[in-house]
Symmetry: C2
Subunit: 450 residues, 2 copies
């Protein structure tokens, strides 16, 4: 029997996990990666340093048995801590007791998956190898070696483009196909990362088991813990044309005054913020949609298919879930890739769209709603409903972050639930009922027969 | 004084007209065109053979004094003739007495403008020269010569990309810029052209001074006269997944039966339609949007900036209008290209969007509404209002086709008028009033004080 072969473009999160899936299925896998080996170099600028890993990502990694290796890298975050302008803190749990999303280093988890992929013996990763073209008729990719600019032609049974938001396979290949729909939409906001260092003794300056948010209406600052005691903080804000926008933070004084006034407790933790302002570049954020996701024996996965903005912390999770779905379909269709790809794009495209819609939607939730007492009351109400009727009610956040319910289904159900909850909160004085211990009675009344 | 220089990518309709504008302004213009000289070759497949030239296009050509040369190529179409399934004809004028849109050969008008551009002495057109890259910092384009694949670097004061829906400058240049928004959306319908030849004596088989439509709800056939007695007919229809779609017309028998049943009068004129079915390819249709349209000294014009579907007959007119607008701004800002480009994209982008929205909207009008008695009554009503109050009422069609009112403004005003007319038609029995000669009284009542 001839050796089955697969090519993956991109050794990022989706690419390295998908290589493990394919290796387990007996494929000889070649990964071509444009950048140099991140295990030997600095992580490239403009990429988030840490990410929020939740159920979908964990599920996808668990399916190929690698969670024991990943778990040590995770810092659980059980809820959000909101920081007000006066420095007051409000805690809001993400889910039930024991549920958490996890801060994890992008570089750390990626390096671990590369190690595991290579350890399988079936995967070879070639760095500084840039995809410059694809031939859909022969499943051939054309790869430029950075060293000498020579071009390799590499043919295999099947090709997977896991090469990110600016996918070379999509650009050089798919975008030239007749009837290929594509859009790249930049949002008005950019982001800048800031590293909040550990205390001198290596301890954390903030509670490491929470995602910290400084919600300020049209903009926000967030912080996620790193393993070394530091926090990676990200300021999301309009580029220009707003009361507070990046174009107004041109000088060190601008930056210092801005942080002193708007994020005073953060400024206290990091009084030299203005000095480090230029350490990371100002980056842009885009939603990229396209269809179809597959053509002949070539498939787009992860950000190459559905790059999103980071506000739901689901970009990585959604990409890893692509691997899980593709893996299930590979088994179901017995590696008949035409059948696999057909079903993959049909079931996965609506979920990619929903992931993007959810991400955009959550920017408003994070920057505006979380500071709103009514929003917090609603969350509390939802939380209690779920406690009393766990099978009948799961909040949208929980469906997205703590379940494997397809994104599109979760979003739709979330909207219906939201309409229902809003109407109840209009008809009943929920806050009073909480104070009078009458809330459970109302919930039983509403949900008993639902 | 040094010679002013400009580069144009693409010698199509926008490129050749814009070259005339620039030559008149004293620029030495170099045009690079991928294809061979259309004056010496067949027109490339998939391009419409004839187009509808209306006021905006005429205005743009008139501004550089070339209308005397273009007029002889025009075949005026004063209205639509609708062909029913039973072969009944209904005529509907497009505007007032003496107003017409004009069938014109794409190749003919393009060749004439190339002649005029070259005759200026300031323009040289290089064919089989393909743009493969652009450097925004130095206004340099990189051009591959088809003959020997060698690359020319060509630098000038300013660069205009008039290279169509699949613009190389947009693809190789703009699409790689940070924060460049772009989308290509294919509609579900494709088209196939059919040549209805002249009679043996060279005469036309249909009235040449009308645009012929066979509206069939979800799809339609149209026909525009050519100078040689023939008609270029185009069938627009879904590719697949419909009661009538291209994927169902696989055999000659399918085609013959389809035309016999659905377009019986056309089939009588062209009983061998099935034999010629494969002469022209089945082509797709897309809307392409992007922004910004300019970067440094490089600007997108025409289809490169706002490619649209052909249902309002405004693709060419809108592109030529770009030249007129750019020409006015060039004078206004005294050739300060930074200022010209800033204003060009700010005022022109909303009109490009409106052009596209109008085009999509008119597919429904042409394929569905024009066969609807209520639509015809509405048109008749609008027509009468305009006759009585020409300064107060201009139909949307007239604003788009017979005026230079910016597309966005026309579309907005058209929507408001439509709401108004619809409400009047709900409140009054317009058809009866026409029969009872009471319609003028109603119109006076409605418009006297407006």
């Amino acid at each position: 029997m001839e050796q089955k072969t697969a090519t993956i473009i991109g050794a990022g999160l989706a690419g390295s996990l998908w290589a493990i899936y394919l290796a387990k299925a007996g494929y000889a896998v070649t990964i071509f990666e444009t950048r140099s080996d991140i295990r030997q170099a600095e992580i490239s600028a403009g990429k988030s340093i840490n990410l929020a890993l939740s159920t979908r990502g964990i599920n996808a990694m668990d399916a190929v048995g690698i969670m024991d290796e990943i778990k040590p890298l995770m810092i659980p975050m059980t809820g959000r801590i909101m920081h007000s302008t006066k420095g007051e803190l409000t805690y809001q749990p993400y889910g039930e007791e024991g549920q958490a999303i996890n801060s994890i280093s992008r570089g750390g988890v990626n390096a671990k998956m590369m190690d595991l992929a290579e350890a399988s013996g079936n995967v070879s990763i070639l760095y500084s190898h840039k995809c410059v073209n694809v031939d859909f008729d022969t499943n051939t990719v054309f790869i430029e070696k950075r060293a000498d600019k020579s071009i390799i032609e590499h043919t295999s049974d099947v090709v997977f483009a896991c090469d990110g938001a600016f996918s070379a396979v999509r650009y050089h290949g798919f975008q030239k196909l007749n009837r290929f729909d594509f859009s790249q939409d930049y949002i008005d906001d950019g982001y800048r990362e800031i590293l909040l260092p550990a205390n001198a003794d290596g301890s954390y300056k903030l509670d490491k088991n929470a995602l910290h948010i400084w919600p300020r209406g049209r903009f926000m600052l967030i912080a996620l813990a790193n393993e070394d005691g530091s926090f990676t903080c990200t300021l999301f804000m309009p580029f220009e044309n707003d009361e507070y926008s990046f174009d107004k933070l041109k000088t060190k004084e601008n930056v210092d005054t801005f942080f002193k006034n708007i994020f005073p407790d953060f400024h206290e933790l990091m009084p030299d913020i203005a000095d480090q302002w230029e350490d990371h570049p100002l980056s842009s954020l885009a939603i990229m949609r396209c269809y179809p996701w597959t053509h002949n024996k070539v498939a787009l996965m992860g950000d190459a298919a559905h790059a999103t903005v980071p506000f739901y912390g689901q970009g990585m999770n959604g990409s890893l879930e692509d691997c899980f779905v593709m893996g299930e379909l590979m088994k179901k269709h017995n590696e008949d890739w035409s059948a696999v790809f057909k079903e993959y794009q049909e079931i996965r495209k609506p979920n990619g769209d929903a992931l993007q819609d959810l991400s955009l939607h959550n920017y408003k939730v994070m920057s505006q709603s979380v500071a709103d007492p009514n929003f917090l009351l609603k969350k509390k109400f939802e939380h209690r409903i779920h406690q009393l009727y766990p099978d009948k009610y799961l909040s949208l956040y929980s469906m997205v972050s703590f379940s494997n319910i397809p994104y599109a289904e979760a979003f739709q159900k979330g909207k219906e639930q939201d309409t229902f909850i809003e109407s109840i909160m209009k008809d009943y004085e929920i806050e009073k009922l909480f104070k009078m211990d009458g809330i459970d009675e109302l919930i039983h009344h509403l949900f008993e027969d639902r």
